[in-house]
Symmetry: D2
Subunit: 301 residues, 4 copies
């Protein structure tokens, strides 16, 4: 199996890939989320791993937008990776020497507080990834240090000047394993279903109606993000993760309700939750309740 | 075919029966709504005609309660009868002679205003029906006049002292033709569906949830009445008529939703509306929309 | 103080009156709910006591309709009276002799089961009240027995042939003490507020919107009844009792919400609950929460 | 007046500043949104101009997060700036020579399509801003061209190799003029109100309840974005713009409703809409309707 991922090697995405890759899989680091998903769409690879949400920075726009447009793709699994930053430099560099620091803008943002306290005079040099910032120091970079993952520092042969320099020690990023469309896997009992929903028209209360499709069937949302459709300010689609699996009646009926009332619904998959937490399903929205209601209806007509 | 109805002859119910009876049908006047529906339940008759709602007095409690409990019955048709009252007396009685007036309490209530203006000193004598009040004058009744239908006055050979004495000239009563349970007739395009719904428990917002089963599927209610369950003050069931037919997907899904979320749903039938007014069905709740949503779901799983 | 009530003496209404009458009050039995409320409106009496709801039969239409139209009246208290029936007759009459039984139609309805079991051949003679049925036996009535309250049997000097003949031993009727409009009494901590609400127009979901005015402010309803407005079939007003007192912010804001969104709101009063049960008020809808929200708003503008 | 803005000179933000700066105002370009808002909070400047939302890329996380935490700030005006990109290079560079292109990541993202079609082999060099990419070419930058605004190309003395190279010709960015807290300006008749709302706890339906505070008062939302609170995956706050002004009763009551039911509400201001479009206010939610409801309530208690 060939797996593309948001490279280069040494990023947090690689840590996510390693959670799902089997021995013998070929791992293909690519330069962007778009490139990884394009390789998948074109059949160059079998799966792609991309970040979708960070507990500090929020949703990853490129991933949300790329999954929400273009040819259909399907999420088949999610992976959680704790985000830990180190300040790394070439051997011989001491912390007081650090004047310029490179990282991906998100990495920089997540270490803002530590940098302000410890390197108040440091200048920021943007990089395409935290791993690229580290790799630069193994080459001819002109900056002094990089904010990157421990793995990237090690791979580039750097010294760690400071560990755990992220402002939020519980930061975690959620990644998804994406495939081309195919049969949905069986329900595990602790699943999520992801959709992108475009509203029918820009009428007041539209989001309320959309949410009621879930609420009236007792389905909790675990993530909801608005994304601009790109047409104009104020035109949004909603990227939504909910509890449950498309094979369950309450989820199936909610999806059909969305299909009826929204201009477009893009199903992104039903897959096991990384945290394994099963939903609390009330007596009125269990598959049994739906089956009994259907059986009752059949006796009437 | 044998049809029981709320007698005696000459009531407004008989006018409703005449709208549906075929030549050769045997019409059986019975003393009460309970008696008519009991005769139907026991197989003594094939159909029963009973009043269910009056535009002035509201729902008819005996009918609502009898349909809502006991063995299942099914409404197969509704009939509207305009309610017109006359003041009738024996030949020779003049209006100024009228001191005592008999009628059914509902008849008396619906002529209150006219009586207050025209017979301010008249005393009321209750009767079991408007027709019985008229029939009494053909016998040995000791009161002077009756408030009854023109038909009843004519049948009892009475003189009409005043016509159109009802306070509300547009008063109308809705009657239903009831059968034992059986296959539901086909949708006519302008149908109603009737149910009695018992809430799951006495939690705040319960009625709101119940109504949302209809509202989220674009189904208008044409009647809703609360009835005590008899257990205690504050315990109700709801007698509901909605637009549409059980063979239509939005109605079927709403019924299943009620079945899931309420402690009991009693289906009372889908039948053509007497006024023939078709519902306005939005693009998101048509059978086509439901079929397309189902077809889309089937492509996903 | 002069109190009118739905007479005659010996009815369950008199039992309700006795719960609230002070020594020296003059009690005025009148022939109908309309008459009692008319006497109050015209200033002939200071208060009126009328039945509003029965746990078996439901709302009392005359009371609901009379409070909901005409000049404004105000409920100042509610009283609960257990409903107990006896079969009473003249001294010397034995149970096997009973061929004809009189009562008010509601009384007859509430003893249907007992009569069917014990006097299957008895004929019903309608009366204007259970007490009138009893009183008739003290006069020249031609029927054999009456279904009435123990009090009425005693007042009319009748023998009790059978006690507790009502089908529902926990039957209770709720009565209200009504005054002309005036200042609302202080909150007791366990109060009800009553309104009659006319919808703005006959649009789908109208009842849902109305209920949301209560639900979004955490206010439970203890009674809701639809009543026809009399204009046409399908046009209703809603008679509603909710928990809480108009002096409480959540109730006041809900009432203002109804006033804005409905065509008419008739406030019928805030008064102590007969059962003394205080409402459960959440932290988000307490007076404190409303006061803090107002104070916060004032800091902003 | 001193105005800080997201610099450097020549960015789209400067175009927004020029819409609101008065002659004699001192304009202070700063390196980041955080820096501009920090300068405002500390009193170093009187106002700050920052981008808040782009029609293609969505909300600007730094702005949303900085306004949503730290000491209170207030939006006093919004400005719309059309986003137009040029490909600019040093005099003498021809399009076929371009191998490396620099821009801000958002600029690069918005020209993706044009670059893929016209410079398929070009390598991307990240820059801190589109203007910085242009300025680099006026210095010693080693890349060949910049994607920047026409203004930036002109200021840096560059040649324009291609105009209108953005993929979305109707792209627009919304900027806000921010002040320290103070009195809210008067309603213009076409206003927006901005808030950040933190939910009370992570209960299902929480977002639904939040939206109902607006919907039940007829208030349209023009923007809603979820932002992680940073605590954990799945914990969000919502950044919301709605139609209307805090001086209007429907907005004031909705804000108080949020204050009661959410754990925190941060009011970010009421200010004129850049597009001048007035809201459609229904008869049930106008200030007149609220005033009449209040007056009615006052007559009752």
């Amino acid at each position: 199996m060939k797996l593309a991922y948001l490279g280069p090697q040494g990023t947090f995405t690689e840590a996510a890939v390693l959670q799902v890759a089997a021995p013998g899989d070929e791992l293909v680091p690519l330069a962007s989320v778009d490139a990884a998903l394009a390789a998948l769409r074109e059949g160059d690879v079998d799966r792609a791993v991309v970040p979708i949400e960070n507990s500090v920075e929020g949703g990853v726009p490129q991933t949300l937008d790329s999954l929400g447009s273009g040819s259909a793709l399907m999420v088949v699994r999610e992976m959680l990776v704790p985000i830990t930053f180190v300040l790394a430099a070439r051997a011989g560099t001491e912390a007081p020497d650090v004047r310029t620091v490179s990282s991906h803008p998100h990495g920089w943002a997540q270490c803002r507080g530590w940098v302000a306290d410890n390197l108040p005079l440091a200048t920021y040099v943007p990089a395409l990834s935290t791993a690229a910032a580290a790799a630069g120091l193994a080459g001819d970079a002109t900056y002094d240090a990089a904010l990157c993952s421990p793995l990237a520092a090690q791979r580039s042969g750097l010294s760690v000047l400071a560990s755990d320099v992220g402002d939020n020690p519980s930061a975690v990023t959620r990644f998804v394993l994406v495939s081309r469309p195919g049969p949905v896997g069986p329900a595990s009992g602790a699943d999520k279903t992801s959709v992108v929903v475009f509203q029918n028209d820009d009428h007041p209360g539209g989001l309320l109606e959309l949410l009621e499709q879930f609420a009236t069937r007792g389905i909790n949302l675990t993530r909801i993000e608005s994304r601009p459709t790109g047409d104009a300010l104020g035109r949004y689609c909603f990227s939504i993760d909910c509890e449950g699996h498309i094979s369950q009646a309450r989820v199936a009926e909610a999806l059909m309700g969305l299909h009826r009332t929204c201009s477009q619904v893009r199903f992104l998959g039903s897959y096991p939750r990384a945290d394994g937490v099963p939903p609390v399903v009330g007596a009125t929205t269990s598959d049994t309740a739906f089956d009994q209601a259907r059986a009752w209806l059949d006796t009437l007509r």
